[in-house]
């Protein structure tokens, strides 16, 4: 085994044709829109100052790259295995939805309570239903909030519901939780 053999990475065969064809189609579609979506400036001093130059270069590289990969592929027509793989690509949509719901609820109900709730419910959904697992998930949620918002002071705004809290604790909740 020589260097070139060690350095070669093998792309997964199933699903490849679907991805490459989709990539090529999107690239061609975007390239066809370059006239509408970018401008050719008459005031530009040189070609380097043209707003259209770099999107054009990028799209030409994309079209050639995807086309060359497609041309070099051993199998160019999708078969059943390709579609099985393509179906697997939508599996994370459920977790993407979990993530977006979390994004939507944090500014309303608070970083700390929603992090604990998110960690525990997702852990339960994933099949870890023992008390230890749920406790660990809750501890992780608390630790994340304490570390990032409490200690590192990352920019996550206080929740809307914290406005209804008594004055004595409201500021603490808004700043740290």
């Amino acid at each position: 085994m020589d260097n070139s053999e060690l350095l070669k990475v093998k792309t997964k065969t199933s699903g490849q044709v679907v991805f490459v064809v989709a990539g090529l189609a999107i690239s061609l579609l975007l390239l066809s829109q370059i006239g509408n979506q970018t401008e050719w400036s008459e005031n530009a001093r040189n070609i380097g100052g043209q707003p259209r130059l770099w999107p054009a270069i990028a799209l030409v590289i994309m079209v050639f790259g995807f086309a060359a990969h497609y041309w070099l592929m051993r199998r160019r027509r999708p078969n059943a295995l390709d579609w099985v793989e393509a179906r697997r690509w939508v599996e994370p949509l459920e977790y993407l939805l979990w993530f977006l719901i979390y994004v939507a609820v944090v500014p309303r109900f608070g970083f700390m309570p929603m992090s604990i709730l998110f960690a525990c419910t997702l852990t339960y959904r994933l099949g870890y239903r023992s008390r230890a697992a749920l406790g660990l998930a809750a501890a992780f949620g608390i630790a994340t909030v304490v570390l990032f918002k409490g200690l590192l002071g990352v920019n996550i705004p206080g929740a809307q519901v914290y406005e209804y809290l008594p004055d004595s604790i409201r500021t603490f909740f808004l700043v740290y939780l």
């Binding site: 060690l6 990475v9 792309t11 977790y95």
Partner: protein
Amino acid sequence: MDLIFSALDVLARWDVMLALLVGAIGGVAIGAIPGVGPAVAIAILLPATFSMDPIVGLTLLLGIYGSSMYGGSIPAILINTPGTAVNALTTYDGFPMTLRGEGRRALSLAYSASFLGGIFSVVCLILLSPVLAKIAPMFGSREIFLAALLGLVLVVVAHKGQMAIAAALAGFGILIGTVGLEPAAYTRRFTFGQSWLAGGFDLIVVVLGLFALSQAFLLLTMDDEKIRLPRSRGSLFQGFRELAKHPRVAGIAASFGVVMGMIPGVGEFTAQFMSYTSARKLSKNPKAFGHGSSEGLIASETANNAVPAAAMIPLLALGIPGEALTAMMLSVFYVHNVVPGPGLFQNDMDFVVALYIALLVLNVIVVGFLLVSTGWLVHLTRIPNRFLGMCILLLSFVGVYSIRNSAMDCIIAAVFGLLGFVLKRLNMPIVPIILGMVLGGIMEVKLRASLARVKTPLDFIDRPIAFLLFCVILVIIGSTIWRLRREWRPIDRRSLQKKASNTFSKRISGRSHRHFESRKKQQRRRRFYDHVGS
């Protein structure tokens, strides 16, 4: 000497020391958990470092970057699963040693080799600083443009067997870097009339999506693995003694790490593969490689740990990131108005030397920590995949949302997360997208600035460094085309069934041919004997 004292003055703060300690320990722990890796950790921590001093933020991120590979060797050696992607070669020789009951010896060798690689590269960096300080000001706009172009060419060429798709993804990176309001003529590019696209795609949002969220999705859709930690004997200190017996292997591997780290777009993979194969060629016992060879382990671990410090060279001297992690660090510099490049070496040399010293101290802290904590770090490998996925999903939210409290950023990150998930499943590279995005932006600005000063195209390369870089780019492209032509084989597009049927018919035809040939011979013989007989 004054420079070192002023650098020590920059470092002698409790927050810098704390960042170094947290980065070192955190990096080791992150490296020891298969499925996390430094890219995910740095992507998540990036927004948190924006509120810190540049030296504190960078020390923390450098700590994670430099120490994660140490931690990554633990699962690579003990359970045959690399903790970080660059520890893949460590499994070749580390795990067979564990199977022989020499796990602690393998770990000790990995730690000592990593330490040597880390220290060697920092020493090289310090020794190279005066040279860099002299060369860096010679880089004007056109040289930086050509160096960025070289980085982009190298990142494509480095993906052997996937060059076309790496080029397409680098192009995609350049494209997403151009989306939004263009800074020179203030025109909109590919915004499709959407106001949320006018600001363009934030690098950190894209990085978090492609690295952190995609990894979370991958882990969440995986099955958990049952991990059995094998028993091992030996001392964690014996590797240091054993390393001294292989100075040539370690020296060559560290040199490969430094050289490959300095070249943008190449990185740890190439460094360790090169050093591993050269160590095998030089070894008296090459057959042991892949079966628990101590030389193989030293070669791979020394090389990959020599890369992080060396990768800082193009970043600090030219402002050009060589790979995804240094591209992320570049954004920390920009947030704090510290512009890496020739000016940094002229104006803030103490800052640069402080970073070098921090890297030096980091290696000492990490080895000390590993020697006392390997016993419990091993248990981090037992964290179930999907639970880890939940943790990364939660932390990714902190990373994305804390940038500008935008739900749209989270949606964009989620979409890039999905893209990263597909790329990871297909085993396609993600790094070209990030480097395309960063280097594309640099190239656009530098080309615009440099073309304003040239009259004819040849003026672009009339300075020695620009000419040299241009020649290097031509040589790399030319040699790649030549190599591809030489290795070209017509692509066999027949289906498996068709191939099998063709092979079968060939065999049959061969048989029938042989059958008829033998029959003909028999007949001829008979005729001959008949003739003789008559």
